[in-house]
């Protein structure tokens, strides 16, 4: 892949990297025909962000790199700590950098970022990447009963009233009022915690639809980077959410880029208490860790590697409500999924006895397969977390087309079927 950014584009790109750095430690670079996607997910897999830059954003965008024809696109995983310093000082970039070229060089396993600056100076950064299957979160935003749209400024102003150190925030919406407040947690040293509540009238929003009264609690820290990006772009932000436990989606788009942040929400505020810890303890803050997420992130190779991802295997909404036809492979899986001892179950999942009432979230991940599969999946695949490209034979029954429903049987919540992100989005905007 090779792309060239000019002038202001570099600054925007840099801001996106900064926003992503607030989410997780790794940055996935995913060049696709429809554009370059930058993604990140946090360690607990409870927050996911994606910035998709369309080819029009770049001065030049090609999937092949130089002499190589675009046979197979490479998905790279970089450590954000190595990318962030390049884009840390955006004012300096604005002043000095005229052009930025990003190339993914397969033979050397490196991403080369070159800044062509004033006075003939060229800075070249060569970062080693890990080849990896990309992540993509699935979210049925069109099925969310509650949709809000507001200028980024409004949301930033609201969030300003809360201390920077605040982890979680609760958003409540009724048809008449929109409220943000600290998450009330019992047992805190009451002298230290100040509780803040802020409400807005629906008139302040560009679009306000609350189909179902709901209270969702999510991690605010991860949202701040996104909000600052949106504010610098003066783009309106859309918020999609449903009941507690379902993820909340913040998104914005314009002609050349789309940005999305998906955050998992706490399940039911009355049933507070730690969720059964599964696997190794989550390295993020203890509270956000309670919001266990679905990590079914496929890493290259062994699907069992997913066990390394902490707090694994909570929940995937089933496709039971889906009207879509399942390809044969999927149908097979659906039936095996009913078998409690299906071969695809990692040990942890069966060890998990989480009842639906503990804090769970339903953030979905589907590894991207190759592009044809992607399109194919668009049409036929209603769901969900997938492994793709696994050399593992345990899922030998299904084809490369990814559709593994993990722990579907444990799902007690009836969930609507989900379409892929793209179609969902198209429906909405």
């Amino acid at each position: 892949m090779k792309c060239v950014l000019e002038g202001n584009g570099v600054k925007v790109f840099g801001k996106a990297v900064q926003a992503l750095s607030r989410i997780g430690e790794d940055l996935w670079l995913d060049p696709m025909v429809k554009g370059l996607a930058l993604r990140s997910v946090n360690a607990a897999h409870s927050a996911y962000a994606c910035f998709l830059f369309s080819p029009m954003f770049f001065q030049h965008y090609s999937l092949g790199s130089g002499s190589e024809p675009a046979r197979e696109t490479i998905k790279c995983k970089l450590v954000i700590k190595s990318v962030l310093p390049l884009f840390r000082c955006l004012t300096a970039i604005e002043r000095n950098v005229e052009r930025c070229q990003i190339t993914i060089s397969t033979p050397t396993d490196r991403v080369v970022i070159q800044f062509f600056c004033k006075y003939g100076i060229t800075k070249t950064y060569s970062l080693r990447f890990q080849e990896s299957e990309a992540l993509q979160a699935e979210f049925a935003s069109h099925l969310c009963p509650n949709v809000l749209k507001a200028p980024a400024r409004l949301l930033s102003d609201m969030v300003l009233h809360f201390p920077v150190s605040l982890e979680e925030i609760t958003l409540s919406a009724t048809p008449l009022r929109f409220t943000l407040r600290n998450y009330h947690e019992a047992g805190n040293d009451h002298m230290k915690t100040m509780y803040t509540e802020m409400s807005l009238h629906p008139d302040e929003f560009d679009f306000f639809q609350v189909g179902a009264d709901s209270d969702v609690t999510f991690c605010l820290k991860e949202l701040r980077g996104f909000l600052s990006f949106a504010e610098s772009h003066c783009l309106p932000v859309s918020v999609h959410f449903a009941a507690a436990g379902k993820p909340v989606c913040f998104s914005m788009e314009d002609m050349v880029l789309e940005a999305t942040v998906l955050l998992a929400t706490l399940m039911d505020s009355e049933n507070t208490g730690p969720s059964q810890p599964v696997g190794p303890p989550v390295p993020t803050s203890p509270r956000c860790a309670d919001v266990a997420a679905l990590p079914v992130v496929s890493h290259e190779g062994n699907s069992r590697e997913s066990q390394n991802a902490p707090a694994v295997m909570e929940l995937i909404p089933s496709s039971q409500g889906s009207p879509m036809i399942n390809p044969p492979a999927l149908r097979h899986l659906l039936s095996t999924a009913d078998d409690p001892h299906g071969p695809d179950v990692p040990d942890e999942a069966s060890a998990m006895a989480t009842p639906a009432s503990t804090m769970i979230c339903s953030l979905l991940f589907r590894a991207l397969a190759s592009e044809q599969d992607d399109d194919g999946c668009d049409v036929s695949l209603p769901v969900l977390a997938c492994y793709s490209d696994t050399e593992d034979e345990m899922e030998g029954d299904y084809t490369r087309s990814p559709s593994l429903l993990i722990s579907q049987r444990r799902l007690n919540l009836p969930s609507p079927g989900v379409n892929t992100w793209d179609s969902a989005r198209k429906r909405l905007f």
Partner: protein, 285 residues
């Protein structure tokens, strides 16, 4: 016990926020005393804070448009609350552009000082922000600990040099030593001294002027009347306490002075138009 106050004027709100922010820089926890005419932020000198004590007095009429309170009883018409000033400061800082700010004593999950602000918006309906700052009510039997400190029988009283200058001097000195000697005389001269094994540094300030206490304080002590103006009264203090005091100051006061009781205590007084702040730093051997 009831308390309800409302601030409407932007500059009053600003000023009040600045005072609370200054207090928050001086101490993590302090006592807020509310009387019908005044608000006091009090820190009593305990070993835990290194013996420093603070007394900050505000006249409520200068800040609040509306002010109603009902104390613990009619004889003790006062409310005493323990509060974290940083929370108050944070809450106030975010609502600087409010149309009005109400401060009330409420009982939510615990007793709280609720700061409720109405923020202006483009539409007709304003935004409401509420901050609940948790407080502890201080029972009457402990009120004696938070009485107004009496003016010490000082040896020398002198106006302070510009606080910014003093702060930069003290900041540099802090790198060299943990203790600093403040000495001053009735000739308007003040020295800040540090001494270590390797080096001693003194900063001299001249022509500072001495406040004309003469008639009020130390009347009985004829010795101070005839005190040699050149003689320095000195006190050795923990430099961090002095630095903390200087760090918190955001606005230049109308009057800033320092009373020194030889080897006992350094008493710093800052007077603004409607706020007075006194800070006592005990001397160490």
């Amino acid at each position: 016990m009831k308390f309800r106050g409302k601030i409407i004027d932007v500059s009053c709100l600003n000023h009040f926020t600045r005072v609370v922010t200054t207090i928050s820089k001086l101490t993590k926890l302090c006592v807020l005393r509310l009387t019908p005419d005044h608000l006091f932020f009090v820190l009593s000198g305990k070993v835990a804070n290194g013996g420093v004590s603070m007394w900050c007095e505000l006249s409520q009429a200068n800040f609040f448009d509306e002010y109603q309170m009902e104390g613990v009883s009619s004889e003790d018409n006062e409310i005493c609350l323990e509060v974290t000033p940083e929370n108050l400061s944070r809450a106030l800082k975010t609502v600087q552009n409010a149309k009005s700010v109400k401060v009330k004593l409420t009982k939510k999950h615990c007793p709280c000082l609720t700061i409720a602000a109405e923020l202006p918006t483009l539409s007709s309906i304003s935004r409401v922000v509420t901050h609940d700052v948790p407080v502890n009510v201080i029972p009457r039997r402990l009120w004696h600990e938070f009485k107004e400190p009496s003016m010490p029988d000082f040896d020398v009283s002198i106006y302070l040099p510009p606080l910014k200058t003093m702060k930069s001097v003290v900041d540099r000195m802090k790198n060299l030593s943990n203790f600093l000697v403040i000495e001053a005389n009735l000739n308007g001269q003040m020295n800040l001294k540090i001494e270590t094994d390797l080096v001693s540094v003194t900063t001299h300030f001249k022509d500072l002027g001495n406040p004309p206490w003469g008639e009020d304080a130390s009347q009985e002590d004829s010795a101070s009347q005839s005190r040699d103006p050149e003689t320095m009264a000195e006190a050795r203090v923990d430099i961090r306490r002095l630095q903390q005091f200087l760090m918190g100051q955001q606005v230049n006061p109308s009057k800033a002075m320092c009373n020194i009781v030889c080897q006992r205590v350094v008493h710093l007084i800052l007077l603004h138009e409607d706020v007075s702040l006194q800070y006592f730093i005990p001397a160490v051997a």
